[in-house]
């Protein structure tokens, strides 16, 4: 399912946070949205999903596979969400309901959108859990009994359980350590590619983006600063914002190797 955003503006309390953004994601394409914290990249995704916070006003056009999301009825959007669009969130610990088992969380979109029997729902959840590399025994557990990486795998299973045509991943690796980050990105990419779905991947980290996407948009102060193939932007950044993000990614991954792990740990701690 493609995404087509034209002239999108979002303001919160009269203050513009997204300014005249044009963006598209083709069928089966993995596209990134990169920008520093507060640049407005998450707001773009939220307006697409109709999940903007109270007091936010959006204008322009944001179409999901031909359905206009801006100004659409809540019922129309609720039908799209979960069924055609799956969302993976940033902080897996907070995204899972602390009083519901993994089984109940993962099956929620199935319950809401499909009229399936209990056994069939259970079979689908179990097979999804296996796909994301979790043991079936995890189904009966509560979020606090899982590690951060396991929690994010549950988040991915929840987003993908209905085989949606578009995955919106909003900083899915930010709260995880570097080894788990890589595993989660690789898992997400392989699942999205296997399903032939599209993905909108939001992050502030070019090293993660390079693994997850083929094309990306750099967002700075609510507007698109630069766009192009991820590999090209990483090799030859033009805009100031892109240069800053690429430099910080290089500091973290490429030149950090001879400097041992210490500076890396400090940077990651700050990012959480």
């Amino acid at each position: 399912m493609g995404v087509d955003i034209r002239g999108l503006n979002v303001a919160i309390g009269g203050r513009p946070v997204v300014r005249d953004v044009n963006l598209s994601v083709g069928d089966g394409e993995r596209v990134g949205l990169i920008g520093s914290s507060g640049s407005g990249k998450s707001m773009i995704a939220k307006s697409l999903l109709g999940l903007l916070p109270r007091g936010a006003e959006a204008s322009g056009s944001a179409a999901l596979g031909g359905t206009e999301a801006i100004g659409a009825a809540e019922r129309t959007l609720a039908d799209l969400r979960g069924r055609y669009v799956g969302v993976v969130f940033q902080n897996p610990g907070a995204t899972l309901n602390p009083v519901a088992t993994v089984m109940r969380q993962v099956e929620l979109p199935l319950r809401l959108h499909y009229d399936l029997g209990r056994d069939e729902r259970r079979d689908r959840v179990m097979s999804m859990l296996r796909k994301v590399g979790l043991d079936e025994s995890v189904a009966g557990k509560y979020p606090h009994e899982l590690s951060g990486g396991q929690q994010q795998r549950v988040g991915i299973a929840t987003a993908l359980i209905t085989s949606p045509r578009l995955i919106v991943a909003d900083e899915p690796t930010t709260a995880l350590d570097s080894i788990i980050q890589r595993q989660i990105v690789d898992l997400l990419v392989s699942l999205v590619d296997d399903a032939g779905a599209s993905m909108l991947f939001i992050t502030h980290d070019f090293s993660v983006l390079a693994r997850a996407t083929t094309r990306c948009y750099v967002i700075d102060d609510g507007a698109v600063a630069e766009e192009g193939r991820t590999a090209r932007l990483l090799a030859a950044p033009n805009a100031d914002a892109t240069r800053g993000l690429v430099a910080s990614a290089r500091r973290l991954t490429l030149s950090a190797e001879p400097m041992a792990a210490e500076p890396m740990t400090v940077e990651q701690g700050g990012a959480r």
Binding site: L49, L51, R54, G55, E74, R75, A78, D79, L80, R81, G82, R83, V85, G86, V87, F89, Q90, N91, A94, T95, L96, N97, P98, V99, A100, L108, P109, L112, H113, Y142, H144, G155, T158, A159
Partner: protein, 289 residues
């Protein structure tokens, strides 16, 4: 957080606390007496004896007799079921009203939330007694009026107290995640917000149950409570309180029962609060070792 495994261990956790144990024993007795009174009381309720009014306790009348010569113990036993019904209905109705209001307050429709907050803040200033008086005009004094007045007053109170916890839960990422999964606002509220505010709700509702016992006594004394001839603790108090200087024992018994029940419900609220608090059960278990 009200973890379900924690809820399953709740009775044991309550029993381990002194206040919880007292509350469970008194509430157990209350339930048992109310059940027994359905089939048996020491004397029939309508049996009066003009020759033995205001009698001191005796073998025939363990707690003495009232101004009509009726057995005080029998009336208190029968009254326990009226008060139990009032407390239970108040918990259910005020809980339902409170949750409905909280649901509107945390709604994603900005206008609905602010209007509900303003309405609750305005209505909460009306005292329970005034609501009861207003309800008595069309409906007459009855159990329904007490339940109605208590439910409205305590429901508004519950909404105001539970709102911060509900707002916190409603803004939580797991609610955003449920909405992203296609859940409606109401579905997310009932399945994701409410289970996460169970500790606040249970404590507040327990206190409401206790206050409803006091309210019944007060309202019946004022003549807007249970109807004449309906046994209740407030009724027993109201008929004897005029003679407190002459026959103090007849006031002591209903007063004692009301006090025991209200203290038990309030202590249950306290015990629930500490048992449901994060780490509450674990801490007590460690203490026990």
């Amino acid at each position: 957080m009200a973890n379900p495994s924690k809820l399953a261990n709740l009775p044991r956790a309550l029993w381990r606390r002194g206040s919880g144990r007292y509350a469970l024993v008194v509430l157990g007795l209350w339930l048992a007496v109310a059940a027994v009174s359905l089939f048996w009381t020491p004397q029939p309720l309508l049996a009066t004896d003009g020759y033995h009014v205001w009698e001191a306790p005796s073998a025939a009348h363990p707690l003495g007799t009232d101004g009509t010569g009726a057995d005080v113990l029998s009336w208190l036993m029968a009254g326990s079921r009226t008060n139990l019904v009032i407390a239970a209905l108040t918990v259910v109705c005020s809980g339902a009203l409170g949750l409905l209001l909280v649901g509107c307050m945390v709604s994603r429709r900005a206008g609905l939330g602010s209007v509900t907050v303003a309405v609750v803040d305005a209505l909460i200033s009306i005292p329970t007694v005034l609501i009861a008086l207003l309800l008595t005009v069309p409906f007459g004094a009855s159990v329904g009026v007490i339940v109605g007045a208590c439910s409205i007053a305590y429901g508004l109170n519950l909404a105001r107290i539970a709102r911060p916890a509900a707002m916190l839960a409603a803004r939580g990422d797991y609610v955003a995640s449920a909405l992203a999964g296609g859940a409606s606002g109401w579905y997310a509220f009932t399945r994701h917000v409410v289970p996460n505010i169970v500790p606040v709700l249970s404590v507040q509702l327990t206190v409401s149950a206790g206050t409803s016992v006091l309210a019944e006594a007060g309202l019946t004394y004022l003549g807007v409570g249970v109807g004449a001839g309906v046994p209740s603790w407030g009724h027993s108090l109201a008929t004897s309180v005029k003679f407190i200087n002459v026959f103090p024992l007849t006031v002591l018994w209903p007063g004692l029962v009301v006090t025991l029940a209200v203290v038990a419900l309030n202590l249950l609220g306290d015990a629930l609060n500490s048992a449901l608090a994060v780490g509450g059960m674990e801490r007590r278990e460690d203490d026990g070792r």
